[in-house]
Amino acid sequence: MIDAGGLRERVEDSALLWALVVVVAVLSVLPLARLLLEGIAPAGHLSADALLRVLRTSSTWTATQHSLVTAFGGTLLAVIVGTLVALAVSLTDIRGANAFVFCFVAPLLLAAQVVALAWLQVFGPSSTLLKLIGIAPPMGSRNPLYSAGGIILVLGVQYAPLVFLTLRAGLRSLPQELIEAGLAGGAGPMKVLRTIILPLMTPPLLAGVALCFVSCLGNFGIPAVLGIPGNYLVLPTLIYQRLAGLGPGALSEVAVLSVLIGAIAVIGIVSQDLLLRGRDFRTTSASAVAQRFELRRWRLPVEAALWTLTVLVLVVPLIALILTALVPAVGVPLTLNSATIDNFRYVLLEHAATRRAFRNSFGLSAAAAIAIVLIATPLAYFLVWRRNRLLRLVNLVTEVPYALPGVVLAIAAILVFLKPLPLLGVSLYNTIWIILFCYLARFLVLGLRPIISGYHQLDRTLEEASQIAGARLLRRLRTIIVPLVAPAAAAGALLIFLTAFNELTVSALLWSTGTETLGVVFFSFQQGGDSTYAAALGVLTVMVSFGLMLATLALAHRLPRGVLPWRD
């Protein structure tokens, strides 16, 4: 009857826990530890040669300076736009917030390199859009986006939703009483905003700033499309050029560059912590949803401003991209006669690498989404319901590969997998598996977060009831927990799929013939001057992204609030 001790239960429990800990360690700790080792001891020998060589090269410091300029500039723009939009959407009674949020957040979920190309099509002498309305600048003039300013503009637009999302989450948990107490004390809405709301929103705002800074710093697609033609290199593009030019021989050097960019990212994250230290931002738990401020006669102007913003940052670039995809060659004006779908036909049917890339990107994204959900669902069980010191560390560690720039992880993965694996004797370098490894490491946290909030919504007694009925851990997971967190897991899987599908940073450094991703093919079209093919491919990926985002709205009512970023 009763077996004293429950040995079998304990074995099952700890086996699962330790398996998960090992998976997280291999994905998150191993590559970065290997990278740090390479920084100190290149090729296995303790030496400062590579370090000094890199630090003495002027291009290192030029790229660092460029990285800092564009990252700070992009962050500043994103913070201004993101904050204003978050305040308008969360605190006022504007109409149509859901549709607006969907459009405003969309750029974040589209491929950065596609967004950059779309913006290029809005300006410059060869812009199909400008030609169509007859205001294109003369041939031979320079596209103004090929510059630091252009990079800053597109980074700011791409990452404003990040600031918006963190700030909106903060505003949602702001207790209504604090606002009402201010109003009752005689302060007007603007004064309440300045003296109560904004000071209390310092933590989410700074978190958004840090996240945005790290994202701008690590972005590859935008400075690659807008910077490389004008030889304006930032650290990720410098690393890419070095590795592409010299191959694995340059590994020690690019490892140092990766550590450098990783260090800048860490400084950004740590300074956010330092700024918040010693101040108390705790609020009592939120009560009802805060009453929204009535804008009255300002409502229409504010709504108009928000929708104008959407048209400018989303609609116009996408239209410009679509128009370019419809002309036979760059610079040809679009007329009823010149319009063609040949570009689409070419990328979909004729170009072998694109067909492979579709297969690879779909396969990689789906595999990453499924594998991460399979890892994250039991992992979140332990993280949420079995808190202890080891698990707190695991939780922290899963964040690292996503927080650091993608090039850092890619270089680290090359270092780990360049030599054949011990025991197996095969090398993953130049195979699709190294890309999958990086996707798993980098996007794990994207799946973990929604699943964790799914668990937080779950009444634990549902699990305890099945435990009392005699079900052991694996059965409880299978029969009770998985069905109940499935909506959150599906949302996480879609988020991973979308991000991986549009990804370029990692695969640009890791691809080889046969393992191209859509990002890589798009990038090589664009670099090769085939902007019309690139535009057609871009339009196709944008359609896939929008399709998936719209499809998930059907799931939305079963999800914890805030899991789907594109839904208000």
Partner: protein
Amino acid sequence: MARLTVERLAKSFGAFRALDDVSLQVDDGEFVAILGPSGCGKTTLLRQVAGFDKADGGRILIGDSVVSSAATHVPPERRRIGIVFQSYALWPHMSVAENVAYGLTVTGVKGAERSRRVDAALNLVDLHGYAQRSPAMLSGGQRQRVALARCLVTEPALVLLDEPLANLDVHLRAAMENEFARFHERTGTTMVYITHDQAEAMALADRIAVMDNGRLLQLAAPSQLYREPATATVARFVGHGMVLPVSIRSVAADGTCAADLYGHVVRLRCAPTQKANGEAQVCLRAGDLTIVAPTAAGVAARVDRAVYQGGFFRLEAHIDAAPDQSLHLAVPEPFTLAPGAAIRLDVADGWIIPEAIGN
């Protein structure tokens, strides 16, 4: 079915002693209520018995098997107990029948045997015909009954009920109380019922264990608990008893004693072991007090206020000799005395609390 034995159980969360040297025994087939205010440790005790938390010290036995001690911890899934949760904890993605069948599936009961037992369990709680419904389509009382059927279908040795009526409205509570009582009668299962509601505990339990601050204060049958509280805390908590100082003059052989209550000599009940050693505490009930003529013998008091309660007043008063000592009693309509009026109270009955003074 089995008895439950808890021996000197201790559990701390940091510096907070949630369970402090708790011992109790629930006999085979007995219905025991654990009663106490929130934070008294009753939920901690339930989680210990269920096995969700590990004990710091002491032992728990179900039947003759040790399930919890410093050395052993049988996980909940091996304890063969049933729990009815306060939130019911019905699985929303399963039908009523699937909820009830779950425990059988887990233990490998299959096919016709399983459906026979599920049907029997649903019949027992009058829910035949609801098997294919989803829990979301049921009322609160029906969900409660599904939870009951689910926990009984595996014939557990012991059933724990965690404030099962707390989420129901008042009308439904009375009906469900009835249901639980009938249910216990029919199945004869050993039941431990956690509640903060003394009326519920009194109505249902064979014996009640009163807890406070992580300690078990008294374990006794409802009427004994009410008539003979072991401590001042139990006296105050159960039935809103008034605890007053008295000095005992003499103890009689029939279990009564003569005592001095603010200068008025009264006859009170006491434990056979009570010594005539002077200072003690008495537990008085509202029904023990009556207003007598101003000239009659009694305790002099003053009216604080009278609250109309439908057919009678709840009169609150304080003793002249001890203005801090408030009393309450029921007086019939009509009642016209204003606050501050002098009254004289006779004491018909009372119980000498058998514990050290000052506790």
